[in-house]
């Protein structure tokens, strides 16, 4: 099977790679590009651990074929923070202890960024329904929701 040659931008950097036509973006990110921050939890689009942004849009990378990102910028967890600084979402997850094992955390942070980029002042209900596609088995979601609310406040420039 001849591999396809794909050119795109990942986390603001130009990237090119070879892939099988049926290879998922998730597998390509992890196995070809060594971007292992994006996690595999189910490969059926149910758990959200593989969440990335395609042109700013939240998707499960396990449900995206690698060739689909030709010319479409991708943002992964590795691209959320500025070099050497944490994004407010990451900072608030830490402050609120919104992670225990941490496996769902990259996907949740990417999903939260997509939410707050679109809806800077979400209600608790909006947050919960937006993040319903990101499974967490450790936290019961309570501290995650609080971290998101606090991150939203910070990003809106409001005092804590």
């Amino acid at each position: 099977m001849t591999k396809l040659h794909i050119e795109t931008e990942i986390n603001g950097q130009p990237v090119e790679f070879l892939c099988e036509p049926a290879q998922s973006l998730l597998e390509t990110l992890r196995e070809e590009l060594n971007l292992t921050g994006t996690k595999e939890g189910c490969s059926t689009g149910d758990c959200g651990a593989c969440s990335v942004l395609l042109n700013g849009r939240l998707v499960c990378s396990c449900l995206v074929l690698a060739p689909e990102v030709q010319g479409v910028p991708v943002t992964t967890i590795e691209g959320i923070a500025e070099p050497n600084r944490l994004h407010p979402i990451q900072q608030k997850f830490l402050e609120h202890a919104a992670l225990q094992c941490g496996i769902c955390t990259p996907g949740l942070i990417v999903a939260t960024k997509a939410l707050l980029d679109e809806t800077p002042d979400p209600s608790e209900e909006e947050i919960r329904y937006w993040l319903a596609g990101n499974l967490c088995r450790c936290t019961g979601y309570d501290k995650i929701i609080r971290a998101v609310q606090d991150a939203a406040r910070t990003m809106r420039g409001e005092a804590a």
Binding site: D46, L99, R128, C138, T139
Partner: protein, 754 residues
Amino acid sequence: MSQPKQFKVVGTRPIRPDGVDKVTGRANFGADYSLPGMLYGRVARSPHAHARIKRIDVAAALAQDGVHAVITGADFPRVGSEEITGGEGGGDYADLARNVMAREKVLYHGHAVAAVAAVSPAAAERAIAAIAVEYEVLPPVMDIETAMAPGATLLDEHLFTQGLPEKPQSPSNVAQVMQIKRGDVEQGFAQADVIVEEEFRTPTVHQGYIEPHACLATINEGGQATVWCSTQGHFDVRSSSAKVLGMNVSDIRVVPSEIGGGFGGKTTIYLEPLAILLSRKSGRAVKMTMNRDEVFRASGPASATLSRIKIGAKQDGTITAMYAWLAYEAGAFKGSPMMPGAMCVFAPYDTPNFLIEGYDVLVNKPKVAAYRAPGAPQSMYACESLLDELSRKLAMDPIDLRLKNAVKEGSQAAYGPKFNAIGFRDCLTAAKNHPNYKRPLGKDEGRGVAAGFWFNAGMQSSAEVHINEDGTVTVIEGNPDIGGSRASMALMAAEELGVPYDRVRVQVADTESAGYTNVTGGSRVTFATGMAVIEAARDIIRQLKQRAAATWGIEADMVDWEDGKVIPKPGVNADLKPLTLANIAATSARTGGPLLGRASLNARGAGPGFSVNLADVKVDRDTGKVDVLRFTAIQDAGKAIHPSYVEGQMQGGAAQGLGWALNEEYCYDANGVMENAGFLDYRMPVASDLPMIDTQIIEVPNPTHPYGVRGVGETPIVAPLAAAANAVRDAIGIRITTLPLSPPRVLEALDGAA
């Protein structure tokens, strides 16, 4: 052990030392490792729930391009029967070996029959599809009643029930029976004014960790292996792999990755010995992962159960007798948590007469593994539900009924010993006084109360404390960090040493770099490994005092340790300026060498953890959906080292318990094949299913830990099952006694009552 009165850093909520790597995607979990030239391993699995293996033909698979090795049961050494250290139900290494790779029989759909290593995941998939296995299919045994019936198809013709007064004549699917009794139950029931009795069922459920099992193994020509894997206990991976493969323990180095959830399900081995063997055969490193389908079908879910409970009480609420008949599904091999389930079922209550009968039953499902307080959620769901019925019959507040009979310090536990200081009554009182207990309820809304309990474990831990040249501190320990334990170790070391928290780093070291340490599980890490870290810190403090005294040319008993410094005792030369860790470390070569404190211990006196939960639900009578409106978790933690992570355990356990109660179950077809082996249809709670989970930490210090710590990780999953079930009963006036209370089941009950 002394207890500092006022804590300086213990009890605060700093950021965990491993946190930045986890929010940036840098932290490496089990599937994140690679080695040059590595192969990908995949497992060929049984399509039948029960069958004899007649023949396995791997020739076609081996002939495929890119396939470097194939293994079957024949590649493994014979493993004799030997009890496994750890585990809840008399697990056996011979069974473990058969579970990781089938030998004569396959005993569940998904049971491993062969494995391959190939150049890509796709090549490995093609190879396992080419493995030809000839089976003699046998009838599957899929539930307790079928397994226990006379003339049932047997999973193991050589299994005779243990625990009977005489060895039985014929083999059975019942691996073990046991009994715990006190007093005279018949007399106790005769004395009762009110008797309630009921039968309860719970389904097979999975721990649901988001990270599937994963490992990378490499073995060199000298037989020395290194395994990177996601596990709760890398020392157990080492010892179990050594047993299954017939290797020396010292020839296997296990490096624990970060772990994406375990909850008990990662305290055993599945892929690791396969990867080592494939690496040996192929001469290359082999990476193996399970996909989600395999995790459901072929790892270790929690036992389905059938329980019959009977309770008798006086009109004033005093319990006079308690009876439990508890049957637990072990899955394909013996070893369900029937025993701990039986020991827990009546543990919160002081009753003079009880009889508990337990059964460990084989069925054609995956071999069960531990799931957070193994055995207790199932049995205590039944008892706590029945106590709710009793409170209704007595027209008594359910918390008052429990207070009337609650164990306290000095009570004889149902499982034997007298309790030392415990916090059950404190939790009950806190629940009664909690504002959530008084909130008004609307139409179709209901409130449920339930108690939870777990023993908590001690066992063996090792720790080292190194003082670095600049006075900063490195702690070396051997417990994979599932839920923030590095933070707790750092807090305890910082507290003892009198240094700022951020000058302490904690390393979770591999089997060749840390002293032997038991699993991250059993609610033991903050207790037992914390105890080891504190002792290692105290060991280094003794050394620091000696070094300072030597530097000053005085006796070691003329100095004190205070606030991170060595000072001369009052009355001794006042001109001597205090020496900090940095001061002493800077001159350590002169005074004797590097500064290393160590401790290794077998921790005793783990304090039991009690909880009380309040659940408020609303039932939609048209759809049968149960919404959780409010949930309150109250638990005795002894001393919360890092309160955020204690709350996290309480909230996470509550979510799992609610999932168990309301929606999670394995659904099987007539051939014993699981129908819902994915997250879409194995429905765990998502963010929109739950409200904020209110927590209240009670602190009744455990006297055997220097800071009073009690384990907190497991108790939280126990009470939510009955709390939710009792709330549904309150909301709709009907008690459904089979879990989960999923919409179809609730609708069926509502229709039946109409």
